[in-house]
């Protein structure tokens, strides 16, 4: 992926912020006013101090009116600051919400190939962590960047109004503090990189070894691991110490420069005051400016780093949001209704990547109500076939049609609605058992739901759950066993009962008893429906009307069980191997 310009990302962000432009304008205005008012306070205090000269020479009336002015100014400032903070919060969190919604919506229309090829954790981190990081940067930018700039300019103007010479001292010395800060950060950058590299290595090691501690123990490998861990740990200690120490120098360094500025102002200012060129109050005012002048500079450099970071993160989210979605349905696409269940594959070609050919010239004709068993070793393309039938992926050549209608001319929704799908991974949504069964038909009545559960042989175990149909399942099914989850998935399909079925017969992790129940449920469901079954069990295979034997993406044999045994090919070999 080409590196997008910062400007491009920035203008995209502005599109989101643009929705809140009035809030933003107010926030900027308030920031400017409160920054200037804040700068006025030291001036007033300087004035007040000038009225407190010495014993008997105190102008109480003057002080009183100045103090009143200070009171008004700080009250106004505080209110403006508060409002500004609230506005900034609102802008930031709303923008974040909008971006997240947009990103999530995009995940719903992305082609499945994106979801299959990108680790889910990475996509989640784009939607969550990156957006959070971006929010931090944005909030900081909003609150500090503008205020910082106004403060710097305002201070400069105020200082110039009081005395040019002292201003020069401040202006000349302050950049030193930024230089120091910059010097330290560039020096420590490589140390931090080293640190995170070694830390990454260590984390990887920990995840691997602690995560598989049982294997480690089975091979009595604890001592070897400890030794290796010790080595990495020592390395980490060394470079962490360096990185931590050197990076912690920034604050003292800039503080020292600040004290130089302070001393410089004190010197020049005091000499001038002694000559009567400025008042003591003006000196006080200068000293407090000198104390604070470096702060916005450091803040701004912090904001800039943070903001750069935020741009990178924003860009990662935008990459997701701008990801090419599934090719939309054809404008003339028709709804698929009243399906008989005739499915034809006509010289179908498909591969996930152009370099690696998978399905080539696949032909198949399935009559309504037929049971098609798909068998073959792992990775032979069984799942791919399902992907193509459901249009999770589109063929690269040839045509698939249902009832004689090419599926590319149908709306995806209507095509998918006509298939009932039970996969090996039993995915359930967060919610009650009822919600899960009614997943495809949210307006189903209780009677319908119970009937579906009964048909799926799930009713009896659901009844035994603490809250029956109202039992809340956590993320991914919670405490249900694999078999129970599978039964719920079947009930889910049972409720809609579409005219065609796709079943991935999952037997590896289910006990025999439950398996038999699932089998019964499957049979009920398949009655009179065109079914594609990724089959693992011999009995299913033998009951099928047609068996597709797949290997390396090709259907190498097809026919009924007897025909295939007769043929004495790959299938016959697989079949016999069970009896060795």
């Amino acid at each position: 992926m080409s590196k997008p310009s910062k400007k491009g990302v920035f203008s995209k962000i502005m599109r989101y912020i643009g929705r809140y432009k009035y809030l933003l304008a107010l926030s900027v205005l308030f920031a400017a006013v409160s920054a200037i008012l804040t700068l006025l306070v030291p001036v007033f205090i300087g004035d007040a101090i000038d009225l407190i000269v010495s014993k008997g020479k105190v102008d109480f009336a003057g002080i009183g009116s100045i103090l009143l002015k200070i009171g008004v100014v700080i009250s106004v400032t505080a209110i403006l600051q508060w409002l500004m903070n609230i506005f900034n919060n609102r802008i930031t969190f709303n923008v974040v919400r909008d971006i997240r919604n947009e990103a999530f919506k995009r995940t719903q229309i992305l082609p499945l190939s994106y979801i299959d090829t990108h680790p889910h954790g990475e996509t989640v981190s784009r939607i969550i962590a990156d957006v959070d990081q971006f929010a931090d940067g944005l909030l900081m930018g909003l609150t500090q960047l503008f205020t910082g700039v106004i403060t710097i300019l305002g201070t400069l103007v105020f200082m110039l109004l009081i005395d040019v010479r002292i201003t020069l001292v401040v202006v000349l010395l302050t950049p030193l503090s930024m230089l120091v800060a910059k010097f330290i950060t560039t020096r420590t950058y490589s140390m931090f990189q080293k640190q995170s590299e070694i830390r990454g290595e260590q984390t990887g090691f920990i995840e691997e070894m602690v995560g598989n501690q049982k294997v480690v123990k089975a091979f009595s490998h604890e001592d070897e691991n400890l030794e290796k861990f010790g080595e990495i740990n020592d390395q980490l200690e060394k470079c962490t110490l360096k990185a931590t120490f050197f990076s912690s120098l920034t604050n003292p360094g800039t503080r020292f420069v600040n004290s130089l500025v302070y001393a410089g102002v004190a010197l020049v200012g005091a000499l001038l005051a002694a000559n009567g060129a400025i008042t003591v109050g003006a000196l006080t005012c200068f000293l407090s400016y000198a104390n604070q002048y470096a702060k916005p500079f450091n803040e701004i450099s912090g904001v800039i780093t943070e903001f750069n970071n935020a741009l990178v993160c924003a860009n990662r989210v935008f990459e997701l949001i701008e990801q090419q979605p599934e090719i939309p349905d054809d404008v003339n696409a028709t709804e698929l209704n009243d399906v008989y269940g005739k499915v034809d594959l006509d010289s179908v070609y498909f591969s996930y990547t152009p370099e690696q050919k998978l399905i080539e010239n696949l032909n198949l004709s399935v009559k309504p109500g037929m049971r098609v068993a798909i068998v073959g070793p792992t990775g032979c393309g069984k799942t791919t076939l399902i992907n193509l039938l459901m249009r999770f992926y589109d063929v690269t050549g040839g045509e698939i049609s249902v009832d004689g209608k090419p599926i590319l001319t149908l709306t995806r929704k209507s095509l998918r609605k006509n298939y009932g799908m039970v996969l090996q991974e039993t995915w359930l949504c967060e919610g009650t058992v009822r919600d899960n069964i009614a997943f495809g038909k949210p307006d189903a009545t209780d009677e319908e739901i119970v009937a579906a559960a009964k048909a799926a042989h799930a009713h009896s175990f659901i009844k035994r759950l603490e809250n029956g149909y109202n039992t809340v399942l956590g993320e991914d099914g919670g405490n249900l066993s694999q078999g129970q989850k599978q039964l719920l998935c079947i009930a889910r399909v049972m409720l809609c009962l579409p005219p065609m079925l796709i079943l991935d017969e999952a037997t590896s992790s289910i006990d025999t008893r439950t398996e038999q129940r699932i089998q019964k449920a499957f049979s009920t469901m398949m009655e009179g429906r065109t079914s594609f079954i990724v089959a693992h069990r011999l009995s299913t295979i033998m009951e099928a009307d047609i068996i597709l034997v797949m290997k390396d993406g090709n259907i190498i044999e097809q026919g009924s069980h007897d025909e295939l045994i007769e043929k004495n090919g790959f299938y016959a070999k697989m079949y016999e191997s069970q009896f060795i």
């Binding site: 912690s248 004190a266 005091a270 002694a274 003591v280 006080t284 997943f439």
Partner: protein, 574 residues
């Protein structure tokens, strides 16, 4: 948390010197307003240019001393914190290595990983910050207070009023917002949960065409999160304006009091300036302190979590004079029952059988019937709660655990490989194996073709957790890893589930041929995998419902024939 401080032992010097130098820095910082007051009162009022020069130089000097003490403080703090964390990490890793299967089950490995990584980092940061800053802020706040009193006791009373008010505001806002931040976090968790679940269920969602509903649900959760965030934001937004008002009101009061005191000639103009400066120093430090406290609270919580791992003691004890060497070929279960920690019922109930050297034992049964539990007891991953288990005629608890495990090779259900070359992975089984040994193990494990297809053969790099290999390839390599050990007992715990029938049977045949005298346990759900074993144990709900050969069981054991027939239905009729 405080128990963890034992790891600070070697850093006593650092942990005293760090704060000490920090204090030094503060002392010099607190002198500055006094010097300025003197500049005003003596230098300016007395038109004493030399004094002004001298004092300005003093300011620079103090700055320098402050800088060097800070550097020293930072160094000692970093050294102590990093060294401490490093020691904790090492000790924790060692401790985790000593935990038994039971403890690993109870704690969960993902928890342990978090303790090892983010929790320790948090503690390191906490210790560092504590040593560096925890004393600085109070020093400055109370130092400023004391200095104010030395300037003028009456005016300093304002400090006594302001410090508590400021503390209440700063800490109050924090106390109110911390639980709210937790709410934000849980709102975020809900958003993360939905996103993750939606990605893994993308096929189902699309098959049922419920995309719009998912988007609606997401927007709702997202909105709740945003509202909570804005609410917390409104509260924390009070912090700056409120403290700003308070401190400036105090300044107003201070100046007014100062004016009265100067009028009566008790203090000078410079003293008023000094008081004003001290007041300004307080605010910054209080806010820093509050942030620091949050950070330390987090660290203490992390520290406690780490300590709780240290407190897990292994429940398996080694006998003194444990038996190191004996022939391990024969195995005898005598009325063995096992109840997992925290479980309500026994996972294994009254198991009795014996195995002769060189026999092959098949174990079959449904999920949760106790198959893995049974074989996991042989290398003493779990101890029996009742009955005894004899290996080579010796009670497993009398064995030296390491020596026992040397004689047993396990191929676990989950095929795990580690980052490194294929060779390194196989050598886990036996570090002295030659390449010939490795190749012959690979051949038996039906894994030779995997290696031969790779350009670098045995030097082919396997990624973390073996993710660049398919499930079936990983299983075969883990079998090779076990075989290279040339164990007396080989346990295959459902370790051919990802293999197709043909490979599975070739594998069993090869193992039977090449492992003369080796006792083999095959755990499986497939009748075809165990039917040729010398002895088949049929487990149902933790009980052995049948022990015997295939033919015997077919005739006598209902469950076995049920399993068999469900997998070979019509074949038998033919």
């Amino acid at each position: 948390m405080f128990k963890l401080l034992r790891f600070m032992k070697g850093y006593r010097k650092e942990s005293i010197l760090g704060p000490f130098f920090k204090m030094l820095e503060v002392v010099f910082e607190l002198m500055v307003p006094l010097i300025v007051a003197n500049i005003v009162d003596i230098g300016i009022k007395g038109d004493n240019t030399a004094y002004i020069f001298k004092m300005s130089l003093l300011l620079v000097l103090f700055g320098l001393i402050g800088l060097s003490s800070t550097l020293a403080a930072q160094y000692f703090a970093a050294k102590a914190a990093v060294g401490f964390a490093s020691k904790v990490r090492f000790a924790l890793f060692e401790h985790i290595g000593r935990l038994s299967y039971t403890e690993l089950d109870t704690v969960g490995t993902s928890t342990l990983i978090t303790r090892m990584t983010s929790d320790i980092n948090q503690v390191q940061q906490g210790v560092n910050l504590t040593l560096r800053l925890f004393l600085r802020s109070p020093f400055i706040v109370f130092g400023a207070l004391i200095m104010a009193f030395t300037v003028d006791a009456k005016a300093a009373l304002w400090f006594v009023v302001v410090i508590p008010i400021l503390s209440v505001v700063v800490f109050g806002i924090m106390l109110i917002s911390i639980p709210l931040y937790k709410k934000v976090q849980s709102g975020l968790d809900r958003v993360v949960g939905l996103t993750r679940s939606e990605l893994s269920g993308a096929r189902v969602v699309r098959a049922f065409c419920t995309e719009n509903r998912e988007v609606g649900e997401f927007e709702e959760r997202n909105n709740t999160l945003t509202e909570t965030q804005k609410f917390v934001g409104r509260i924390s937004a009070l912090m700056n304006p409120l403290t700003y008002v308070i401190i400036n009101l105090a300044v107003i009061a201070l100046i007014y009091t100062g004016a009265i005191r100067v009028e009566t000639g008790i203090i000078t103009q410079g003293a008023v300036i000094a008081l004003y400066n001290y007041m300004s120093q307080i605010l910054v430090e209080l806010i820093k302190l509050a942030n620091l406290i949050i950070n330390i609270t987090k660290s203490v919580a992390s520290g406690n979590r780490i300590q709780s791992v240290f407190e897990i003691e292994s429940d398996q004890t080694e006998r003194e004079n444990a038996i190191v060497s004996a022939d391990a070929g024969t195995i005898e279960f005598k009325n063995v029952s096992l109840k997992y920690k925290g479980a309500a019922e026994n996972s294994l109930q009254n198991i009795t059988f014996s195995v002769k050297k060189g026999e092959t034992v098949g174990i079959i049964g449904g999920t949760g019937s106790g198959k893995s539990t049974l074989v996991n007891m042989i290398p003493r991953f779990y101890d029996s709660s009742e009955g005894e288990l004899l290996i080579g005629g010796v009670d497993v608890k009398e064995w030296d655990t390491e020596a026992l495990r040397e004689k047993i090779a396990v191929v676990p259900q989950k095929a795990v490989l580690f980052k490194g070359t294929i060779r390194e992975n196989i050598l886990w089984g036996n570090e002295n194996a030659t390449d010939d040994d490795i190749y012959s193990a690979l051949k038996t494990a039906q894994a030779l073709d995997i290696v031969m297809k790779k350009d670098n053969k045995l030097d082919h790099l396997i990624e973390q957790s073996g993710r660049n290999l398919s499930g079936g390839q990983r299983q075969r390599l883990t079998i090779a890893r076990a075989l290279v050990k040339k164990p007396q007992i080989l346990i295959l715990d459902d370790s051919s589930s990802a293999l197709d029938y043909a490979t599975d049977s070739a594998l069993r045949k090869a193992i039977a041929e090449s492992t003369d005298g080796m006792t083999v346990f095959i755990v499986s759900q497939r009748a075809s995998s165990v039917m040729n074993a010398d002895k088949i144990i049929v487990l149902d709900d933790g009980e052995a419902v049948g022990i015997g050969t295939h033919d015997e069981l077919l005739a006598t054991c209902d469950i076995y024939s049920e399993i068999y027939h469900s997998q070979f239905k019509k074949v038998v009729e033919k």
